[in-house]
């Protein structure tokens, strides 16, 4: 049991941002948190560094705050991270040509689908107005004339 309690003392999965990491300046800290939400914890599965408990995430959080304290703008900090870790670190892919399909899927499908839907609604009635086929008409005539 002792060992278990030792483990309890050491590891805690949900303590993402530690109190000791936080900056004293609330405005700067708020900016750090906002940027953190867009950066991926590289060793985690789809988690941002703000939520992550991994050591690497903590390192990046501290690094990020150091850059902010040094006077970087938000864009500079993000660029710094991309230079260091690659685009993989961004949870929101860039609007670059290689990600064009990703970003344009929605708008293009909306236009295409919208056009098709418009054409469908505006189409001429496909069936004859009374909805009877030639054979049915003959049958009806026969019935009416008999």
């Amino acid at each position: 049991m002792r060992i278990l309690f030792l483990l309890l003392m050491l590891a805690s999965p949900a303590m993402a941002v530690q109190p000791s990491e936080m900056l004293d300046d609330p405005a700067l800290e708020a900016r750090a948190r906002e940027i953190s939400k867009g950066l991926r914890c590289l060793v985690c599965r789809n988690e941002n560094i703000d939520d992550s408990n991994a050591d690497l995430a903590a390192d990046i959080r501290i690094l990020l705050r150091q850059r902010l304290v040094a006077g970087d703008t938000d864009e500079q900090v993000i660029q710094y991270m991309v230079d260091r870790y690659g685009e993989f670190v961004l949870l929101k892919p860039t609007y670059s040509a290689s990600n064009m399909i990703l970003w344009l899927t929605g708008p293009i499908l909306l236009l295409l689908g919208g056009g098709m839907a418009y054409a469908f609604v505006r189409r001429k009635n496909p069936a004859p107005a009374d909805g009877l086929s030639e054979a049915e008409k003959q049958k009806l005539d026969k019935l009416l004339n008999s």
């Binding site: 309890l8 949900a14 000791s20 789809n46 949870l91 929101k92 839907a117």
Partner: protein
């Protein structure tokens, strides 16, 4: 013995499914009724056999038979009974067995309840259902056999234990609900393929498909809500949706099933949009399969995917390819036969529902592309990219906002031809009120973020719009109170279902907007007996003590939170589970309709204090209340007269039905 019996039952089930897939299809083609009749009895036998297999595996888990490999790997004798049972599907093999059980269950339900189905259609539907069964029973037996025994000398004294994160009542029932939803959509798929083979879709077809889709949708809604709620209280920072691939895997079928529910109404009432509805049915089930593939193959690593085996991935990919490819190929050849016979004006309920379908389908496509993009980018362009929450928030949300804006208007339009002015008449007041409320929120808040005002406006617009729809149907304020009451009681249940479905969406939007915009967070090192203030609440950490649970050890904090006369004591915990030595966090949450107080205990700090996170989450619970109201709307809609009429005619059927089935 019992495990072998289960294994044997699975093998026989596979053979029965093969017979059920082939014989009735030939019978339907040739018009041989005794061949077609095989379908119903085969599906019931198949269900019984898979039930035996499932029962056998459950037995092995309940008695902790560690000679069965799966039990040894995933269970533990000290586990509470609930988690021994839920452990059956808390792993890959068992969850696929559950998949098969539900698949067979739906088949048997069609066999038993579908007496009023034309025999040819029924035979084809059950045959296609059996083809899916063959694929998944084969998958289970050949790549994921749950009944494998360990060699005698390797049988452990105790099991490995279930992942502690999964030892939770919310998550115990999350997979069954999701699977009921996923697999329920297989019915819509089978009906769609059968209709393509017959080349005929009519109002009756839509009336048969809709209850199954509705049932699947209800289960999906509840399943997703359970999963989201679990993430909220278990993962420890109160997030409720992460746009994780596994979550998206359940969200895509939900979006397409929602679209399908709406378009099936048009087929039923107006005899148009047939080809599109059939396509949606194929797409909805395809998304279910893709979801299964994503979760079961571990191809896209994510927070919850705990299966990882390429052989399995390839097998599911093959099932995926054959099902989707086959379905879509058949569709291209046959869709042109599905003529739509009625026309409608640009401004009409039909057009409104077309717009609904367009927006939902595009939204589903965005989620799909976002989910698979990291894979595509890496394999095609060799670039590793991440697609996370910020992408979906930007690329997905606009379509939902557009959908919400048109929803109340479309919902009140008459069929065929509507006049916008007339439809809007009862809605102007609602619109004005919603905008006014949004403006009020905007003027009260200090920050410049538009999320809260816009979110509140949209939520109010749908909620009041749904009520206005009901009100105008009941001639509220236009007729006497008695007349209104009479109209309300005579309203078809489907109308109530529609109202609740839309209302629930509004409540969920409200919860999401409120908690996202107004959440207060506090992270600090707390010292004992030194109170501090978080969002108007006073928080005081009293002590941290050790205690022992049945299969874990814990450190429990005691925090007193108060505001005015309101005082509550919360016990946030950190646990280590004995079997897996895995630490987890149990947040302490005081739930309330206006706010949740959410306290998480962290590590002890160097100065002797404890890291504590405190959140005040306004109206958070409305996210799930809204989902439940949506599901309730589905249930009420399912009991609508026109489905019960179908059920009643079933009771008369035995007169000319064949005796003894």
């Amino acid at each position: 013995m019992i495990a072998e019996l289960g294994h044997y039952a699975l093998v026989v089930a596979l053979i029965v499914a093969l017979i059920q897939a082939v014989i009735p299809m030939i019978g339907a083609q040739k018009g041989w009724s005794d061949w077609m009749n095989v379908a119903a009895s085969a599906s019931i036998i198949q269900f019984l056999l898979v039930s035996i297999a499932f029962g056998a595996l459950t037995y092995a888990f309940v008695v902790s038979d560690f000679s069965v490999r799966l039990v040894a790997l995933n269970s533990h004798s000290a586990k509470p009974m609930l988690y021994k049972v839920s452990g059956v599907w808390g792993n890959h093999e068992g969850s696929m067995l559950l998949w098969n059980l539900i698949l067979a269950l739906f088949g048997a339900m069609v066999a038993l309840s579908g007496r009023n189905l034309p025999p040819v259609l029924k035979a084809r539907v059950l045959s296609i259902q059996a083809m899916i069964s063959v694929a998944f029973l084969g998958f289970l037996l050949f790549t994921s056999n749950p009944f494998l025994r360990l060699p005698l000398d390797q049988v452990p004294i105790d099991g490995n234990g279930l992942n502690p994160m999964l030892q939770d009542p919310g998550l115990a029932f999350h997979p069954p609900f999701l699977y009921l939803g996923y697999v329920g959509l297989s019915m819509a798929f089978s009906f769609a393929i059968a209709a393509l083979i017959e080349g005929r879709v009519d109002a009756a077809w839509a009336r048969w498909v809709r209850p199954w889709t509705l049932a699947a949708w209800i289960f999906l809604t509840i399943g997703i809500a359970l999963g989201s709620w679990w993430a909220y209280y278990e993962l420890g920072w109160g997030g409720w949706w992460f746009w994780d691939p596994v979550e998206n895997a359940s969200f895509m079928p939900w979006l397409s099933a929602t679209a399908l529910l709406h378009s099936a109404i048009v087929v039923e009432k107006r005899d148009t949009l047939k080809a599109w509805t059939v396509l949606l049915a194929i797409v909805a089930f395809s998304f279910s399969l893709i979801g299964t593939f994503i979760v079961r193959s571990g191809v896209i690593t994510s927070v919850h995917a705990f299966a990882n085996d390429p052989a399995r991935g390839v097998f599911i990919l093959a099932i995926l390819g054959i099902t989707i490819g086959g379905g879509l190929t058949l569709y291209t050849f046959r869709a042109s036969q599905l003529r739509s016979n009625s026309v409608f004006s640009m401004v009409s309920r039909e057009s409104g529902l077309v717009l609904n379908n367009l927006l939902l389908a595009v939204a589903a496509a965005v989620v799909f592309v976002g989910t698979i993009w990291p894979l595509v980018s890496e394999f095609v362009m060799g670039e590793k990219v991440s697609v996370g929450a910020p992408f979906f928030e930007q690329a997905f949300t606009p379509f939902m906002v557009a959908l919400i804006m048109v929803l109340p208007i479309g919902a009140m339009m008459p069929w065929k031809r509507a006049r916008l002015g007339r439809t809007m008449r009862p809605l102007w007041g609602v619109l004005a009120l919603s905008v006014a409320l949004g403006a009020l929120v905007w003027s009260l808040q200090t920050g410049g973020r538009m999320l809260a005002p816009v979110g509140i406006t949209l939520a109010t617009w749908i909620v009041l719009g749904a009520l206005a729809d009901l009100g105008s149907r009941a001639k509220l304020f236009k007729a006497s109170a008695g007349e209104t009451l009479r109209r309300l009681t005579n309203l078809p249940r489907a109308e109530w279902g529609k109202m609740l479905g839309h209302l629930g969406l509004g409540l969920t939007v409200f919860g999401i907007s409120a908690v996202t915009a107004w959440q207060v967070e506090d992270i600090r090192t707390a010292q004992f007996n030194q109170p501090y203030d978080v969002g108007g609440y006073q928080v005081e950490l009293m002590d941290v003590t050790r205690h022992e649970g049945p299969n874990y050890s814990a450190l429990t904090g005691r925090a007193v939170v108060s505001r005015g006369d309101e005082v509550m004591t919360l016990f946030p915990e950190k646990r280590v589970y004995t079997a897996k030595q895995m630490p987890t966090t149990e947040a302490a949450i005081d739930m309330g309709l206006t706010r949740d107080v959410y306290v998480v205990l962290g590590d002890q700090q160097d100065n002797g204090g404890w890291a504590v996170r405190t959140y005040i989450k306004p109206f958070a619970d409305w996210i799930w209340i809204g989902a439940l109201v949506m599901a309730l709307g589905g249930v009420i809609s399912l009991t609508d007269r026109r489905y019960r009429v179908a059920a009643a005619s079933k009771k008369r059927a035995p007169v000319n039905a064949t005796p003894a089935e």
